[in-house]
């Protein structure tokens, strides 16, 4: 082959090489998240939230934070005034074993309907079912120890 054809071949490969995209850095889960929540136990850890969990966060900080957290937007928490003391919303030890259905019933129908303290009011007429599901999704996202969904609904009740 002549020198010129080599040159042509080289020139022809140039656009192909230059068109290759630079390697993209891996997606940053925080930047891709719809919203974030700082871990209640570890201020260094940022938990990414998806849309549903973020709606749950908004509802939680409107309706639930007063009794189910130790710090509230207004300062002091009402948690110490309530007897029996309500569970913290991120308390995985208490909440992880409860199924989504149980939590949904407790929030919707209130504590007394589920054989628990009547201090927990029924929210079923104030919040929609979708709202309650979003709240549960948020609680699952911030749970400590982290929540692992059961392989199939009800699997956590398997008795060996």
């Amino acid at each position: 082959m002549t020198r010129r054809s080599w040159l042509l071949l080289f020139l022809a490969t140039l656009p192909i090489v230059s068109c290759r995209r630079a390697k993209q850095p891996g997606p940053d889960p925080i930047a891709r998240a719809y919203d974030v929540e700082i871990d209640w136990n570890d201020p260094q850890r940022v938990i990414p939230l998806n849309y549903t969990q973020a709606q749950g966060k908004r509802l939680f900080y409107t309706y639930c934070v007063w009794c189910h957290a130790d710090a509230t937007p207004a300062g002091p928490s009402n948690r110490s005034n309530v007897n029996p003391t309500p569970a913290l919303a991120n308390d995985g030890v208490v909440l992880n074993p409860m199924s989504d259905q149980l939590l949904q019933n407790t929030i919707t129908l209130g504590g007394s309907a589920m054989g628990k303290s009547a201090m927990m009011p029924a929210w079923g007429k104030t919040l929609s079912q979708k709202d309650v599901q979003a709240l549960i999704a948020f609680m699952r996202a911030i749970a400590q120890p982290p929540y692992a969904p059961p392989a199939r609904p009800g699997a956590q009740y398997n008795v060996k």
Binding site: A31, A33, W66
Partner: protein, 701 residues
Amino acid sequence: MSAEDMGKVSRKLRLAFALMSVLFLIVLAISPVKDTLLPWRSYKRQFARFADSRPEHKRLLADFQPGVDQIWIPQLGVVDRCGTCHQGISQPSLDDPSVPAVFRAHPQIPHTVADWGCVACHRGQGRATEVQEAHETTLAWEQPLLPNRYIQASCGSCHLNDLREAPQLQRGRELLTRLNCVGCHKLQGITRPQMLGPDLTNVGAKVSREWIYKWLRDPRTLTDKDGNVTVNGVASEPRMPQFRLTEEELRGLSAFLSVQRHDVVSPAKFDARVLAVWAKKSDTVEQGETRFRQMFCTTCHAIATTRAGQTTLIGGNIGPELTKVATKVNTDWLVAWLRDPEGYLPHTSMPRYAWSDEDLYKVVRYIQSKLADSSLLSDVPQLGAPTDAEIQLGKRLFMQKGCSSCHVIDGIATPTEFGPDLSQLGGKTTSQLEFGQSHIPRNLISYIRAKVSDPPSVNATARMPQFHLSPEDLDAVTTALLSMTGEPPTPAWAQLRVSAPQPQFHPAGEFGEIYERYKCSTCHKFNGYGGTLAPDLSFEGSRAQRAWLMAFLKNPQTLRPTLTLRMPQFNMSDHEASVIADYLTAAQQSHDVRSGAVDTREYTPALATLGKELYEVKYQCQSCHTIGSSGGYVGPSLNSAGLWLRPEWIEAWLRDPQALDPQTIEPRLSMNDKELKAITAYLLTLRQPIVSSKASAGGTP
């Protein structure tokens, strides 16, 4: 040429022709081959395989077809082919993290993909059928996908009203309003208020030249031990941004402002009898502090207190933070201001309190001795008397630097559109932006973030001052600016736009005068107009009994004991209180609460006993409300409910609280009529009289 030769040539030609035919065939085949190898086809095949593996495959593949899927909504200009690859986007059963991200269902938002398409919210290119072209900026397509972090900007492009569902957008809009960005920029959906920064026509009578110098160099006078202006998580950032001024400019501006002294402030005068008693007392300052707290000045003004090395900022942010105010203003001005704030600033939100000379003297003494910091101005050089050259320079700078956009001085015109128009910023493409010498990524989001957080990094000669925002606030402001995409692209979009209501509430007559004097709408909402700090008073006449209103206005008894921000004690006269009570009772009524609807004879003691049981056992209202000294702090205390609330209101409220106040967090419970009446009967028996605040020590900040 002989015939034989011609035959040879034609054989050669035939060969060439055959070769060319094969070549053409190959060339012609390129297009269909490329077409079958297009990435979207492989996504379609993958989805078909994925759907087959799911139990609900029949439903998933009901609309499956091999071609490009497109949403076409002509009136909105929507042509979105995103569904070609994102096959599961409207399949609710695929809303699960285990589903591959491409095929995952869209979360359940109030809008459906079929009605709105994708690009309207996510941006990117709806017409593109290649991954990169659809999602990123390429040479031919300029609009990249909006990251989820800022997606609430898209809500704000159409919803110009308050949107509780998009808290980040709300926060961003609040910040743009609070930081007075409209002073220099045109913004979408934010109108210019009557007063931005204070009127400086008479500022020389209020503060010294040294203080102006210090303030202009860095308006953040309050810092913690690390030099941060954020004290204990509460931003103590003043509204005034930091300008980058040279020593000469600082001297010029401080000289110009210190000679703005149009009216002479008369020396502070107190009643001689008050002075005779209180000037000699040893505990005047302590009593002044008690009075300061009793009057709840901290509802609007924050004060930094250091306890055990920990500085906390206590109080609201409606007015300026006051920790070192006595070093700032002179005493004569302070007394004149406290007596009549509107005399100095006509549009101020500071109420005109009805002071007794005694209280005023005590509080001023407290401010003088406790809210001062003698070392505040120690790093300011000796400035001396202002020279004419300095004053002239200062006057020029006052206009050049944009001071006159927010501050008024008699004789200096307010410029219109001092900074660039930002009402279409969110819709700009990369080629419309000037990145200057900066090394930030070439896209709109990094441009906005750099411009807001560090203006000279993009443009070295930027006039924009420095705002100090936390990372979350920077995200929020970026979201709000991204939402400003200018005029709607089509008439159909214009019709869909939800505009922000612009309610006004400026009653006339005597009530109107009192309402303006005490600035009620700074904290309370009236028929949609006003602040959100305190309860909405739109239906106050249906809620509260007149006698209770009178007593409360004379002495704002605290309904919510844990609040640090409470209604100030205005020291209003009996006449003023009765005018307010009359107006609220007559005018601020709800259609849903009818006074004739209840018969108070029904509330028998037996019913009240039943109500007490329902309150304490069945519904356990004490988890949020206090009666006696026990109960929760979430709702208001009910100790005086029988004196405070009207029976028809209690019944309507218990039946459906959200119908009367959509924002309330009181849950709507399924009470039957008898239960409603029983609890109402019980609450009406709670009649603890309102105690005098002079007896109680007031809040401790």
